[in-house]
């Protein structure tokens, strides 16, 4: 418990680490979702074009 309390600075230290983790994970999750969306949109468009020909 003492380690977690960080000499009463625990709130500050842990919130910094947690926030960093959240921002990085969230940003990469969004980037990944965006990539997949761009890919899917193109897949639909290109396959539709292909079928028409």
């Amino acid at each position: 418990m003492d380690t977690l309390a960080m000499g009463n600075y625990g709130v500050y230290v842990w919130s910094c680490f947690a926030l960093t983790l959240i921002v990085i994970v969230f940003s990469d999750w969004r980037a990944r979702a965006h990539h997949n969306q761009v890919y899917r949109d193109m897949e639909v468009r290109i396959k539709a074009l292909e079928d028409r020909q």
């Binding site: 380690t3 960080m6 000499g7 009463n8 600075y9 625990g10 500050y12 230290v13 919130s15 910094c16 680490f17 926030l19 960093t20 921002v23 990085i24 940003s27 990469d28 980037a31 990944r32 965006h34 990539h35 997949n36 761009v38 890919y39 193109m42 897949e43 290109i46 396959k47 292909e50």
Partner: protein, 250 residues
């Protein structure tokens, strides 16, 4: 040698290369960050002045360092894009901007949280580093706003490259002028930076974090560059062939 560069500049090659590189960047990043976090939080002895609050530097300093590096990266790729008319370099710049802004935001918020127990306030204008980071965040906002206001990608690329180059000169001026300014107003004691004055058990985790964050930046950037390249090349033949091929190219 020239063949290598030529291949590097070709979008389909780069698209695949980025995918291959991603795990090679992400795995060392995770290992280094895991070690740095563990050692920084539990093994390093508390600072004699700041107690355990100094451990915030293990996320603050790497974020602050990346926020500057990402801007440099943006400016350099902008310059390459302008000089050698390399479209790929502009894609790199476009991908780096939101990441840089994210790390700038992190550096600002962690700096501010560090300031709360140290200075007794969430924000201290007298601290040159925080003030410079804030201006840097505005520079990122300007860059992204300019990019999103120009519809023509090629035009947006070049305009943003010019802005990033002007901005990078400015970052240096901001740094020195803010330092001068805070010295006038008897700025608070600065956040201790890693250096020779630091004990080894404090310093090594910090170095590991900085290196780990650099790798992480590479991995995160690789994904964003792939999206940029895919979108920009959406009307080309290689993208069509890749998507129609049985193995795909996600």
């Amino acid at each position: 040698m020239w063949k290598f560069f030529h291949q590097l500049a070709s979008p389909p090659h780069f698209y695949r290369l980025a995918a291959t590189l991603m795990p090679w960047l992400a795995v060392p990043a995770l290992l280094l960050i895991a070690y740095g976090t563990y050692a920084g939080l539990f093994l390093a002895s508390p600072d004699y002045q700041q107690g355990d609050a100094f451990r915030i530097i293990y996320v603050h300093v790497p974020s602050a360092y990346l926020s500057m590096m990402a801007y440099m990266f943006m400016a350099i790729s902008g310059a390459i894009g302008l000089i050698w008319r390399l479209k790929l370099a502009h894609a790199v710049g476009a991908a780096a901007a939101p990441l840089g802004a994210a790390f700038t935001f992190l550096a600002l918020v962690t700096g501010s949280i560090w300031g709360r127990p140290m200075w007794g306030t969430w924000w201290e204008w007298g601290d040159p580093r925080l003030t410079s980071e804030l201006i840097l965040l505005f520079l990122y906002f300007g860059y992204m706003a300019l990019r999103s206001s120009i519809d023509d990608t090629a035009k947006a690329d070049k305009a943003c490259a010019v802005l990033a180059l002007v901005g990078v000169v400015n970052v240096v001026v901001v740094h020195y002028s803010v330092e001068w300014w805070s010295s006038l107003h008897q700025g608070q004691t600065l956040m201790k930076k890693g250096g020779p004055g630091m004990d080894a058990d404090m310093l090594y985790p910090l170095l590991a974090m900085i290196l780990g964050f650099t790798f992480l930046f590479g991995a995160l950037l690789a994904r964003r560059i792939r999206t940029e390249v895919l979108y920009r090349e959406r009307r080309t033949r290689w993208v069509r062939e890749m998507i129609l091929s049985p193995e795909g190219g996600r």
